[in-house]
Amino acid sequence: MPVIDFANPTRILNVVNRVLPWLITATLILFVIGLYRVMNAPDDYQQGATVKIMFLHVPAAWLGMFGWGLMSIAALGTLVWRHPLADVAGKAAAPIGTVFTLICLVTGSLWGRPTWGTYWVWDARLTSMLVLLLLYLGVLALYWTAEDPGRGARAAAVLSLVGAVNLPIIKFSVDWWNTLHQPASVFRMGGSSIDPALLTPLLIMALAFTLLFLTLHLAVIRNEILRRRVRSMRLLQAQKLAEASA
């Protein structure tokens, strides 16, 4: 299929309808394997069983950031290459990315309570993810509440790109800020070199969540194409009625 075919909504719908069942199956299989490995994963020597929260928290963080990356690429497609369906891809990624960022923050908070003694701390990574959530909510507001979907999408595309540029800056500045105010207690996160017994379940769960993201992304793209179809048909109907009564 030449690339230009990806500009045709009907083609996209056909592709999604064919691919989606396979993706759903693959996602389910990976989650079954992943959860089995998670249940049998050893306890961390410092944190005990609470390390099992990591298998949710870390993939959620990765996918929250991945979602913004997807939106930025889609934004380039909308603004630079004028691809007709790029804004659909961007709009579809926004709610999924928001959900994963939210999961990251909540599971992180629940992980923090037993390990650090507090639900929240102004750690650089936590704060950056919080700002990411706020940016996501802003983009959601633009994509999903504009009366004209095309116009809202273009505005959201600009904000996605501005956010993409600003996210490293925010990350850097929050890092700086966190080192200015030293945390009250110095803690270690169990080391960056993760034992393979924990690394493998983590990677499997990450893959499972990624497939979940892609599945949901395609499903929301399909819904959005249908929604636009409904809108154009209603506009057509209204136009005909206006002509008939004129």
């Binding site: 700002v131 116009r151 273009r154 501005v162 956010g163 800056i169 500045s173 700086w176």
Partner: protein
Amino acid sequence: MSAFASLLRRDMRLSVRVGGGALMGALFFLVVVSMIPFAIGPDLALLARIGPAILWLGALLASLLALDRLFATDYEDGSLDLLMMGGMPLELAVATKAIAHWITTGLPLVIIAPLLGLMLNVDLHALGWLALTLAAGTPALTFLGLIGAALSVALRRGGLLLAVLVLPLTVPVLIFGVAATNAAIVGSAPFGPPFTILCALSLVSLVLGPIAAAAVLRHGLE
């Protein structure tokens, strides 16, 4: 007179007139900073400690409120369309409006900040440094807010949307601005690094803001 200069003069004139909102921002700043001690209590030591943060937050909020009308009035009377169709590149026109906005709205904030700092018991010698950091940082607030202002006029939404969109982007400016001011007051950390980063943020937003705002106006208003 060049197009840049005439647009600059026009915007500055309009904003100092009645309904322009030039000094309203400074007044809002004054009011907000006056309310804080009512909420926190008259503990002078505490106020001195958080004074810089309060002043920065007040400046941020005052800038945001004034940005609402940056494009709104032009959109309403059609001059925004003229600017978009005119010979001047849209990015430059938008940047010119932002510069005018900063001169009439941001600069008064910088000027009255030392006075408000006195009310918050900030050290006298630090007031000058405070004004300097605000002078370096408020342009960043204006130029980043430009993007929100363009978004809210392109989508015909109210001011709260602008605040929601712009505030996360201004987090680095706030962090480094307060860090620089605290460094000047307490003296434990060097003033240079956060201040130069603050200047860098302003310069980056000087470029990024108009480009993004122009893109929003072009794509959103077609």
